[in-house]
Symmetry: C2
Subunit: 475 residues, 2 copies
């Protein structure tokens, strides 16, 4: 078996091929001069409008451009402008939030942008001007180490990266971000649990290039630790962040792991994609094919859907945190009952979330082997007494090794019926904000007809990706 190729078609090996792929990738990642100019114009316009809106406001210190637009590290077709309004530490948090919402939205209206409120650690205003996304965020003007809110670090991040950038590295960062996006690991939000833009920038700076990052990354194992501050050994970092597959200290705050959001799965996907790209470079890592394997028939009888409706408006990470907690709890409960859960996934769509569980069989076998206690435990007699003349007992109890066993007829066998009962009885985790949606959830087997309905309800891409099963870089 030769090296694996993601993507079909003839690909020639060697340095020329790699350079060709990178050249094409740069066209995907690096904005044109026209796009650069347009973003700069928008950024300056927003900055001026926000400055204007906050002029003379007590406690307002300054207004700055931050993030990828300030650093020139944004990737093509994803233009985004972050404007930060800095307040002096004496201003109360509530007041700060109120001002940002009121005056930030007014500033956006003044330049003709539509806007909506969004929530991270605290509320901010998200606006849209043409194809550019604009964020107006409030922060405190603090010294490092005296952070009052998580975003207070951002201006220092911008300064740190800018002080180390040159044009070559700017392009390398853009390649890296486009790669992360292409393979599906880009984004620190809980729904993705991948690599943030800032993390990607630090990694490229650390290894001094995109390919250099991939070369190192292709050899990473979970618990990989990179100190950007010259303070810790790898062992110390692993002890400090024992559950992180990837640890990258923040140059502006040595006690923080910039990669804390990265899940083991996203970490592993990055490692595998790095290896595959290096052994077989292809543009498909930057520009993945859509899901391919469209035949759902082999999976019929295996797919259970849970449709949560009327979810509350909450910060995305809060909502996803609860949804994922529910999913994991359902997975564990199904496994404990004897179901083989092969995989699951969740997708949001407006105020809905659709959960899919791929289960070896949606019906448990009619009989269940119950494993009892060792005969020398006190409750061995109880086990015998409970099952010996029970109506549902089919064979036994018997002794094998040191334990008791009994074969019982199952009262309830369908994953759907069991899940509904568990929700009702609180035998799965039902987090509070999503509880009403879970209690009224529609739980059903995905038949061909149901599949058609779901496709028509906006879940088509999600269903295709789930049925295909492959991450983007293996399509």
């Amino acid at each position: 078996m030769g090296p694996v190729r993601a993507g079909d078609g003839p690909v020639k090996s060697g340095a020329g091929e790699l350079e060709g792929v990178l050249e094409a990738a740069r066209r995907i990642a690096v904005p044109t001069e026209y796009e650069e100019r347009r973003l700069r114009t928008v950024a300056e316009r927003v900055l001026r409008a926000v400055e204007e809106a906050f002029r003379g406001v007590e406690g307002h210190v300054r207004t700055t451009l931050e993030g990828s637009a300030a650093k020139g590290t944004w990737i093509r077709s994803r233009p985004e402008v972050d404007v930060f309004v800095h307040f002096s530490p004496g201003v109360g948090r509530e007041l700060l939030e109120k001002m940002v919402v009121e005056r930030g939205s007014r500033a956006l209206e003044d330049i003709g942008a539509s806007w909506r409120l969004r929530y991270a650690d605290h509320p901010y205003v998200e606006g849209f001007l043409g194809d550019v996304t604009v964020n107006v965020v409030g922060c405190y003007a603090t010294e490092p180490g005296k952070w009052l809110s998580p975003v207070d670090r951002t201006p220092y991040h911008t300064r740190y990266v800018l002080s180390r950038l040159d044009d070559r590295l700017r392009t390398e960062i853009r390649l890296a971000k486009a790669f992360m996006r292409g393979i599906g690991v880009y984004g620190a939000e809980l729904r993705i649990s991948g690599f943030s833009g800032y993390l990607t920038e630090l990694l490229v700076l650390r290894f001094n290039g995109f390919l250099e990052l991939l070369r190192d990354g292709s050899g990473w194992r979970p618990g990989k630790a990179i100190d950007m501050t010259g303070t810790f050994t790898e062992e110390e970092l692993r002890a400090l962040f024992p559950n992180s597959p990837l640890i990258v200290t923040d140059p502006v705050d040595r006690n923080r792991n910039v990669a804390s959001a990265v899940s083991l799965t996203r970490f592993s996907e990055f490692v595998l994609a790095s290896r595959l790209f290096l052994s077989s470079p292809s543009l498909s890592f930057f520009d993945p094919r859509p899901p391919f394997r469209g035949d759902v028939r082999p999976l019929l009888g295996c797919l259970m859907a849970v449709r949560l409706r009327d979810l509350p408006s909450l910060p995305a990470d809060t909502l996803w945190g609860e949804v994922l907690k529910f999913c994991r709890s359902v997975e564990r409960r199904l496994q404990r009952e004897g179901f083989v859960v092969r995989r699951w996934a969740a997708e949001s769509n407006g105020d809905e979330v659709l959960l899919l569980f791929d289960i070896e069989s949606l019906e448990l076998p009619p009989l269940e082997l119950r494993v009892g206690p060792p005969v020398w435990l006190r409750n061995a007699e109880d086990f015998v007494g409970e099952h010996l003349r029970d109506q549902l007992t089919v064979a036994g109890p018997w002794v094998s090794g040191e334990r008791l066993y009994v074969l019982k007829r199952r009262a309830l066998r369908s994953a759907r019926d069991l899940l509904l009962r568990w929700i009702e009885r609180g035998e799965v985790s039902v987090p509070k904000d999503v509880a009403p949606s879970i209690r009224s959830a529609e739980v059903f087997e995905v038949t061909e007809e149901r599949l058609r309905e779901l496709r028509e309800s906006g879940y088509s891409a999600f269903l295709d990706a789930f049925i295909d099963g492959r991450p983007p870089f293996l399509r």
Copy 2:
């Protein structure tokens, strides 16, 4: 839930009830005076005939009565006479065997007994005189510790037990043996892997009574060690016999575990039965009910039979050793393939053995989740390459946690077809003496029709017991 009662019907609690049960049990266990007299008559007749047959034979030292007939510890309706022919150590093994076979059989013919050859460690002659079984066994007249064959210890065993017996203990031993037999753990042969007569005698001597043995036994845990020689601590014995659930040193050979044949299952059955008997005495522990639950329908689709025919004439333990090795190997292979083997059993019938496997489903699900290597292992790329565009791949490969997974269509799904292939390819253990029978074995699902056929072929009691599942003392 009250204490468990094995057996139905009203049972009064208290000492009077226990005494009543023991009284009835004694009638089962202790021979009548008439039976005692008759056995003594038979024993003397056989002894004289054998003595006569070996008179003047060079190297012949003496002929003695051994075993339960000599000790008066045989249980009612199981009369058995063991006559030992002692040779001086200078006699070659082959000559000894030849003499025992030739002259032993002649002696039995002389008194009108039918006979056949049997094999344990070496051949002996088994005869039948009325309802009494007679064994003529050759041994060496050696000093303890200078054993030349395993049966050389037997005369010392007889002497040891006789020197410690009185009439009360004789009855207690008979009760204990009848209990062991009733609960299905009596017999050291591999097919049973239970308690030998000698072991039972030692245990009753040690605890000075039947109930006292049960009281102690009901608290045993695997690794229980009893030193009959005042030499070792429990810890030392466990270190000497690390895999034995029960260790009882031999008073005539301190380095030997008299309980080495006892399997963990038989050990545990004895512990459980002791507890249940003490909390709820019943005659059914001595005189078990036949299997009861006769309805096979819930098990249809779960039972696979393997019928081994034309098995060679071999010592029972040799044959069973190979058959059980094959069974365990099949169980492990089935489990590795994804089958849930709930239990299995084997029964012999003439030169045949029938194996039954109770499997959650005789067909594996159409799809199989294959677990691949962690992404950081060298062979991760091979796994991707092998499955990415394979015809049988239904979904994936994908990454979850640090590993790769893929969902495949199964080529072969039936337990029967797979087992036949494994036998053909040597993927299960095929011990040499039984190999021809395994290679030509009939493997089939037990349908109602097949069940009828098997019942008519002499497996009725075995099938009933298997379908019921309970050990005798829980029926």
